[in-house]
Amino acid sequence: MSTEFVDNDRKPVGYGRMLRKEDPRFVRGKGRFIDDVQLPGMLHLALLRAPIAHGRILGVDTTAAEAHPKVKLVVTGAMLAERGLAWMPTMSGDVQAVLATDKVRFQGQEVAFVVAEDRYAARDALELIDVEYEQLPAVANVRTALDPAAPVIRDDLAGKTDNHCFDWETGDRAATEAAFADADVVVSQDMVYPRVHPAPLETCGAVADYDAVDGGLTLWCTTQAPHAHRTLYALVSGLPEHMIRVISPDIGGGFGNKVPIYPGYVCAIVASLLTGEPVKWTEDRSENLTSTAFARDYIMHGELAATRDGRILAIRTRVLADHGAFNGVAAPTNYPAGFFGVFTGSYDIRAAYCAMTAVYTNKAPGGVAYSCSFRITEAVYLIERLVDCLAFELELDPVELRLANLLRPEQFPYTTRTGWVYDSGNYEATLREALRIADYDGLRREQRDKRARGELMGIGVSFFTEAVGAGPRRDMDIMGLGMADGAELRVHPTGKAVLRVSCQTQGQGHETTFAQIVAEEIGIPPADIKVVHGDTDQTPFGLGTYGSRSTSVSGAAAAMVARKVRDKARLIASAMLEISVADLVWDKGSFAVVGDPTSCVTIQDIAMHAHGTGELPDGVEGSLEAQVHYNPENLTYPNGAYICVVDVDPDTAVVTVRRFVAVDDCGTRINPMIIEGQVHRGLTDGVGMALMEMIAFDDDGNCLSGSLMDYLLPSALEVPDWQTGFTVTPSPHHPIGAKGVGESATVGSPPAVVNAVMDALKPYGLRHADMPLTPSRLWEAMRGNPQPPV
């Protein structure tokens, strides 16, 4: 499958660089985000949140708030409990309080809400609610959460006497122990992937509009998964599903933060039901950072077994996972640790084992977010840091060590020791391309010269393999909903088309990319194809956009539905040209008679014929449209090689990321401009996580990172001009060979940055320091005292 098109000019319909169809509205300020939705008579909802991390609610007095002249409604947990709505299921089989009834379990938890005439009045009235708490000791330290003396957070669960959430294991323990026993060398390293937050620039929100006359609920909502949300609202609320319409308008960034159902959405629905008016809820930045889906928070102990000459034999790891107060992980049911099972990385490893324990703490729920591809961020960080630790111990170049252990092209499809079937890859070629762009040997020479002058320059390498496109419905579901996606394509009589898809763009450019996929298949120019998404009444069912599954699942559906339309078009063309189907040849949007290119009909001619009065072949109905539901047979496995170059100031420990080279293999490339943009974003995430970002807590469970003054995100001054490259190894089972790329760089870049900083600090004898490598933390590490952040 040849897939490389440098520019769309070479191929006027289909794949290639093409400016985005979304942009004209955004550059005019005409996007329609959740807070832009204004309805007649709309009321505003504000949430009262817990000021403490753990405490029993002794009483809630709403009298003064109710007396506020602009307040229409005040609702407490007790009032929701009367309606059976105080608790809701999470996406991991746990329950979460919509409004607290018995206890608050994290700082920022929802306790009550006010509905008022304007957003300022709603906030004012929150101040008038008096909640009496009996403060309880908080479990803020994940390492002591399972101590027998630790207070039990989840006493709402029958018989619960500790803070244990779940255990999980994968791999072959006995085989791994045997491999370790035989190894020449074993390196072990404790490492923390701290709690971070996706912090999309647009916070979460909803506008609920319940029509008491027809019993219909319309919910505008910041959701990455509108169809899944609709079904869950129906199951929880008892509202009939056909009367619920979820509209996900323009989304100001998601990154997994907008996958879960939050109490605020449910409260907005309840408020509209009770008041009979549309109700808007928009959270502020502090609410977003302190209460919505965090990411990571894994404490890992990793070990590699190897031969003395650098052949990696086995990997094992123990993980302590902080899941917060409720298990709110949004991952497929059979995968409580997400896809962490790919922690064997990109290497030919003979044995692997992981044992994980997840615990409850008095912190916000979440865990799977921030472009993590269901925890592959943590898995790739573990193996890529361990490989560098091994290189450190064996005094080998980290590139040479990787080249000696990378999977070889002839090994694909490759089944890992933990059961994942990698579809395709050419890892060595990908790594060598990155080395070429970076001039790796030249960088090492420069480093030698600088070290001789006492300057601290570091070169960090990482290689990652992702598993994206969840997933085969035989074993992947979210709360029982199989992870397959629909697509519907209608070609109108004049040959213009409308594609309807279930996934939801948050900036990835689906309106452009998906039009290009259809254009490639049926030859209608992308400009003539409208992509409809984000409205459950207007699109077929599917599970949404996260885990880099849009192109890999919905994109496949778009290609398949276009092929179905083309198949029908072929039958109609044979009638129009009065020739058998076998004698037709397809080329760039038209069917021609074999050997007679002048006898042809275009897809536009066929569309008009299909809707007109002309004769159709036997058994073929009029119109030109189709629908499919695509169930992937396997995940796709994008991969890449990243090289980061840093300078560390020896006097201040400030890290400057000077260069970054990213070579990605995401299979078939649909729009290189959009792919590059996706990669740039993830690289910026990686610099942020490696150097700046962490959601921190004090011993009482107070969140110390509740604003963008405390939770630092990279600006244009902290990141370099990215250098990108690519290789193309199509997925063999995906209809167009595409693999998904939205999260690759977020997964692959943090270890490259940390590896670079550790490489710079080799003169200090330092092998590992944990993220975030802020100047103060790195300063301590350089003085021989590296400390874990939790």
């Binding site: 550059v27 999309p200 960034g253 900036g507 943009g677 244009a716 990215w722």
Partner: protein, 165 residues
């Protein structure tokens, strides 16, 4: 309180609460929803608008402070049906993805080019360092501003060539 200001060239008079933030006045009272509300603390810059030609973060400006002054928002960039070069630059160079930071970025970048028609990469990065973008990684935004600068330089050259003063 009652106040009057000029917004995108048109005089606006309104009765407001004294504590009303400019971002909410623009969005909720004037329905100019291109200006976004992202952080409350002046860190993200999604709310950047011009006050008398200077970019300000409207989430930390009281509406009352704008009384008698001239406000310009992203909706005012397009003139007579023609997009500004900075708007075209962002489309040409993929300077946006989700579009949420874009209005603030455009206003800040436009102000930069008005002061400095040919900024260096570092000058562009410094100018937008008070704006957070979570999607682009900034490189394409830098290119977008450079595109607009080059476009305007070209336009000026051609005007001069045509003998226009």
């Amino acid at each position: 309180m009652q106040l009057t200001m000029t917004v995108n060239g048109e005089e606006v008079t309104a009765e407001i609460e004294g504590r009303l933030l400019l971002v909410h006045f623009l969005r909720d009272h004037l329905a100019l929803t291109g200006t976004h509300w992202g952080c409350d603390t002046s860190n993200c810059g999604a709310c950047a608008v011009w006050l008398d030609g200077e970019p300000v973060k409207s989430c930390t400006v009281l509406t009352a402070m704008a009384a008698g002054h001239e406000v310009r928002t992203v909706e005012g960039l397009e003139q007579f049906g023609e997009l500004d070069a900075i708007q075209r630059g962002f489309m040409e160079c993929h300077g946006l993805q989700c579009g949420f930071c874009t209005p603030g970025m455009l206003m800040t970048a436009r102000a930069l080019l008005d002061l400095n028609p040919s900024p260096s990469e570092q000058e562009i990065r410094e100018a937008i360092s008070g704006q957070i973008c979570r999607c682009t990684g900034y490189a394409t935004i830098v290119r977008s501003v450079q595109w607009a600068a080059a476009e305007e330089a070209g336009a000026r050259t051609s005007i001069i060539d045509a003998g226009t003063p």
